[in-house]
Amino acid sequence: MNLEYSAEYEDFRAQVRRFLAEQWSAGDAARQPDPDGMAAFAGAVPTDERATAFRLKAIERGYLYRHVPRRYGGGEQPPDPLKATLIAEEFRRARAPHEMVGQGPSMLVPTLLEHGTEAQKERFIPGTLLGKIRWCQGYSEPGAGSDLASLRTRAVLEGDAWVVSGQKIWTSSARESDWMFALVRTEPDRPKHDGISYLLIDMRTPGIEVRPLRQMTGDADFNEVFLDQVRVPAENLVGKRGQGWVVSRSTLKHERALIGGSHLTRRTFDGLVMLARALEVRGRPAIQDPVVRSRLVELEARLFANEYQGYRLLTLSARGEEPGLAALVMKLASTTLGYDIAKLAMEVIGDRALLAPGEPNAPAMGLFGTAYMWSLGVLIAGGTANIQRNIIAERGLGLPRDSRK
């Protein structure tokens, strides 16, 4: 066990730092959102010309999109999770534009790399990597949430086009997106997983209507997408017809920067400690209350555990070992922790939790109230806590699948 990086990696870190010092000034950094701030949490990533020019240089040096071949606009480097982590750490420190976040780079690009045609890769990947083509995901439907494979949006081949009708829901950034990658039912006679295909849909096609979906926080970060006789060129099918379920399971297999998953949780926790120091409860700072102190340490224990689990996953990945249970538990462990941190914050705030965000006297501008609601949002999004429990029990512990069909 050794938490220092070897000389080879420290040299590499120095190279990355030199590159950042030459190509990305303090002035540039000052204009960027805090990498751990709310804007970054909401996915705000700079795509202006300065950021794009910088990203292109960073790709050229092999610092970004290391798993994507050069011919599709990537950095093309041998997998090395330690280097990927160092790059992420240094870019974060310099507040320099890193890889684009969002479902295009994280979900569509790996899918196209594995299943796309040459033409699809050349057409879509380079623009997606630079944020020039923005994507939304068309998976969930009103009747197909956890049971995604029961989705009913239909696509019928008419000549050289698929004609798509149906409804998608929980579509983040649908209003800002240029394209949607969607799962649609093309073989209504086949058993449910076998009848699904993966289609790329231009959001400007006639017949698409996007309606903002207002969530419990009062904001509208999601949308409903209605598709009525939307014509999609047949060449926009990814993978084989009826193979969409398998196609959609592609993930980034090559490497991932594995430290950093707990950054936002750490920030929320530190914010909670600041809040407990600043807020008076019945005549003394909340942090002097032994119950609050004990519970803060309880939460920090779980936070440390998740942070060091990040080191462990990174090490397993660097050694080429399968993480198994260690990786499967992380979504549940981190989202339940986020929820419990927000919950303690609400208790520390006490009766002032009655004040909504924006009310001038609300502690921390009411951000913890919003965080409390969002902590439930992330517990549900991308596979609810109970679905995670099924995955952990079945794939991690080897318990039998239940009688789901």
Binding site: L3, I287, Y308, A318, L332, R389, N390, A393, E394
Partner: protein, 362 residues
């Protein structure tokens, strides 16, 4: 950057596990548990041949000179197998002897501990759940100790006891030899019968001061906290594994009970808390030797968190086993009781959480 075990560490774990599974199945655990002293010298000799009591003994004194992480990996395996005996007592005493820097005491006792020839234990806690070296009532005057240590592991078979006490200069550590004048040791019936405790009375008992100040005491306590966390992880993991196995074979309503989501979800929740907690005690053990500024706080946090989880694992396991889990005949209660020891010894979870809050400057 490598936050994982070395090949040697993996081999160490495997060697201990394999040996214990052969030599100390639960039938032998029960036999030792039901014996008078709760100690089987032959088992201890075997562990000494494997090098277990000498892991943290410096090479100059005939040990392996390894780090706390290596000792903790052994503790994890002993926790998994529910191994009875004075491992923890000797590990605490070894940490205290090493931290005391006292050459004479080290030369006299460390080689014997490493070879399994001497049982040495550590007496810190006092009446009223007191585990703080700054608040001890045991007094030393002119080389004689007076006071009472109500819960000392394996004091009844100890060749020497390291006693935390106070003299005119404040806290310090004294070595009292077994059979010394005025030393009274009363074996007690313990909840966990795999780690025996005894009450120690000191009435003007002669002792040798081996360390001044509280540093050596705190250092031994921190080692103990990490080792309890590791034992707790091993035990909790065993409870989880046993219950998964049971859920795969026990059928009700015509299906293995592991098919039911109520069962799956309880086990998944436990796994989701337990698996990352491994990284927490690994880090705490690593910090003990390599990150001094984080060692004390992480030891406290790891002990509180892991022993809490162990308690929960033992409860969930018993509950999911149903009636059979509540019987004496079934082995689960061995771990259930061991969880009680890990939680209570050296101070409860909340006590260490409040210490950790203090150490953070909150």
């Amino acid at each position: 950057m490598d936050f994982g075990l070395s090949p040697d560490q993996v081999l160490l774990k495997q060697a201990i596990r394999r040996w214990l599974e052969t030599e100390c199945p639960t039938t032998r655990v029960r036999a030792i548990m039901e014996s008078d002293g709760g100690h089987d010298p032959r088992l201890w000799e075997g562990l000494a041949e494997l090098g277990v009591p000498g892991l943290q003994v410096p090479a100059a004194h005939g040990g392996s000179g390894l780090e706390l992480l290596d000792v903790a990996l052994a503790a994890e395996e002993l926790g998994w197998c529910c191994t009875p005996g004075p491992f923890l007592a000797c590990a605490l005493a070894t940490a205290a002897l090493v931290a005391s820097g006292n050459a004479e005491a080290g030369a006299r006792w460390l080689p014997a501990i490493a070879r399994g020839r001497a049982i040495v234990t550590f007496a810190l806690g006092e009446e009223g759940d007191e585990w703080d070296a700054a608040r001890l009532a045991t007094r030393a005057r002119g080389g004689a100790l007076s006071g009472r240590k109500p819960l000392v592991p394996y004091a009844a078979i100890a060749d020497a006891i390291l006693v935390a006490a106070e003299d005119g200069d404040g806290p310090g550590l004294w070595l009292v030899e077994g059979g010394a004048r005025g030393l009274g040791v009363t074996p007690l019936k313990g909840t966990d019968m795999t780690r025996r405790v005894a009450a120690v009375e000191l009435e003007a008992t002669p002792g040798t001061k081996i360390a001044a100040g509280r540093a050596a005491i705190d250092r031994a306590r921190d080692a103990g906290l990490v080792l309890l966390a590791a034992d707790a992880y091993g035990g909790a993991r065993r409870c989880l594994d046993m219950t998964v196995k049971y859920a795969l074979t026990r059928e009700q309503f015509g299906e293995p009970i592991g098919t039911f989501q109520a069962v799956k979800h309880q086990l998944a929740d436990l796994a989701a808390d337990l698996d990352p907690a491994l990284s927490l005690w690994w880090y705490a053990a690593h910090a003990y030797d390599h990150i001094p500024e984080r060692a004390e706080r992480h030891a406290a946090i790891a002990k509180a968190h892991l022993t809490d989880l162990y308690d929960r694992a033992a409860r969930v396991a018993t509950e999911l086993h149903g009636g059979i889990g509540f019987t004496w005949e079934y082995d689960l209660h061995l771990w259930f009781r061991r969880a009680v020891f890990d939680r209570a010894f050296l101070g409860e979870a909340t006590y260490h959480r409040l210490r950790a809050a203090e150490l953070a400057g909150w």
